[in-house]
Symmetry: C2
Subunit: 326 residues, 2 copies
Amino acid sequence: MAKRFSPDQYVSGILAGDRVMLSRAITLVESKLPTDQDLAQTVIDKVLPHSGNSVRIGITGVPGVGKSTFIETFGNYLIQEQGKKLAVLAIDPTSQRSGGSILGDKTRMESLSINQQAYIRPSPAGKSLGGVTRSTRETIILCEAAGFDAVIVETVGVGQSETAVHAMVDFFLLLMLAGAGDELQGIKRGIMEMADAIAITKADGSNISKAKSARAEYQNAIHLYPLAASGWSPKVSVCSAIAQTGLDTIWQTITDYLILTQKNGYFDKKRRDQNLQWMYETIRQGLEDNFYSHQQVKDQLPAIAEQVKLGQKSAFAAAAELLRLV
Amino acid sequence: MAKRFSPDQYVSGILAGDRVMLSRAITLVESKLPTDQDLAQTVIDKVLPHSGNSVRIGITGVPGVGKSTFIETFGNYLIQEQGKKLAVLAIDPTSQRSGGSILGDKTRMESLSINQQAYIRPSPAGKSLGGVTRSTRETIILCEAAGFDAVIVETVGVGQSETAVHAMVDFFLLLMLAGAGDELQGIKRGIMEMADAIAITKADGSNISKAKSARAEYQNAIHLYPLAASGWSPKVSVCSAIAQTGLDTIWQTITDYLILTQKNGYFDKKRRDQNLQWMYETIRQGLEDNFYSHQQVKDQLPAIAEQVKLGQKSAFAAAAELLRLV
C-alpha cells in the first residue's frame, strides 16, 4: 500500500495547488479501504469551504463523435484564451483501463496532458457506476479546492452515466455528428432533452454545409421542447477541432447560461439541490449496500428474483420476504 | 373498520368477476394497516397466476387537454367496438379528493362509470407518489384477475408520476393540444420521449387544420429521436371526442405496437423487467421507510440537510453521519 499522510498534509498540499498531493487525495477517494475512506472524508470536509468556485461542465457524445479531440481543443482554448485552470474527469464505468493507468487518457489528449494548467484524471477502474459517480463528485471538490476553476466531466452517451453527470454539473453539453443517421441511434432517449447546448462536431472541409443544416434541424427540434426550469433555451452550434472553429461560440453560450442562471437564482438553487440529492443518494446507496451484502439476502435473492421475473411471485411479496431476512 | 373476509373469499370473488369483492380487495391494497397489507399480499399471490392477460395502457396529458373526456370516449370505443372489459385507474398523488370519493371520477366519466364492462377506480387519497404507485401496481393485478383485459392508468403530465406509470404499462400514450404554446410548457421534459404515441386532441371544427399541422410537426420532431429499444417508432395522430374520430387509428396503433413487440420479444422482456424493477423498488422503499422513520434520524436530519444545502458539510459526510445513527 502506498504511503498515507495526515489529513492536514493532504489539505495544505491541495490548497497550495500541489498536483501530486491532489492525485494522492483522489486515490484515497477512489479507494475501497474503509481507513482510506475515513481519511478521504476528513480531507473533503476540511477543503469543502474552498470548493465550489468553478464552472462544472458535463460533456457527452457517442464514440466516434470526437469527444477526446474536442475536449483537448476546447480545453486548450479555455486555458489559453480564457485563462482557466482546467480539470478533466471521466465517468466511464465500463472502462477496462488497468488500475491507475492515466496513460490511456494522456495519449488521447496529448497536448492538454502536458499543459501545466490542466489536470486530467481518468475514470477509476473496476468500479460500478455508483462508485464512479461518488468518487467523481468528491474529486470535483478536491480539484476546486486545488484552484481549478473549470471542471469538465466527460462520459460516453450510451448508458445511465449521463444522468449521473447531469446531476453533478452546472452545464451539460452534447456533442453530435452531422447526418450521422446510425450514430444517432447510440444516443439514449432523453439525453437530448438534458442538454443545455448541442455542438455539431467535425464541421470542417466538405462537412461544413451538412453540419450547418444539422444545426438548423436540431435547433428546430429543440424549439418544440418545453422550456427548462432554468429559463434557458438550449443552443445548437457547429465546431471543428481541426479548423479550431466554434470554440468561442460554445464558451459564449456557457457564459450566457451562467449569467442568466446566476441572475435568476437557478444556478445556486441547482447546486444546493444537487448537494442534497448527493446526500440522499449516498444514504440510499449505503442502505442498499448493507442490505445486498447480507449473507442470507445474497443466498436467497437469485431464486426469488427468478420467480418474480416469471410472474410466479409478486414483486411485493418477494420484497417483503427478502426484507424480513435482515 | 369495514368487514374483512378470508383470503379465499376475496380470491374466489375476484376470479368470478365480482366487482364488489374486487373493490374490497383494492381497499386492502390501499390500506396502511399492517394486517390489511398482509391480507392483501396473500390475496395478490393467490390471484397472480390469473393476472397479466391485459393490455396496460398509460395515458398522460396536461390539465385542459381533455384527458377525462378522451378516456371516456376511448373507453366506450374499446368496450363497444373492440369487446374489451376496461379498468381505469388513476395515479394522482396530489389529488385532494376525500377518502373513497369515487364520485369525482364518476362525474368526470359519466357514461363509462355506468357501463357494466368498465371499472373506474380513482387514485387513493392521502398517499405519497410511492404509495400510489405501489397500490396501483397491485390494483392492475387484481383487475386482470377479475377479467379486465384492458387497463388504462391515467396521470397528469406535470410531475414524476409519468415515469412511475411508464414503468408499469405496456404502451404509453401522450395527449397534446394543437398550437397550445403555453400549455406545452406544462409537459415535463422527457415525457415526450417516453411516449409510444402522441394523440392531438380536440381535432374538430375550426381546430382540425391546426391539429393536423401539429401532427406533422410532432411526427417530424419524433423522427429525430433515436429508435427505442422496442424497435417501435412513435406515431402521432389526431382525434376528437366530440366528433368521435381518430379512436380507431389509436387502437390500431396500439395493436400494431403489440404485434411488433410480441413478435420481437420486447413485450415479454419489458414485463419481466418491470416485475423485477417493482421488486427492487419495493425493497428500496422498505429500506428507506425504515431508515427515515427512525427517531434519531428524524431528529437530526433537518439540521444536517441544511448544512449540506449550504455547502457547510459534504453530502458524503452527512450521509455517513446519519447512517451511523441506525
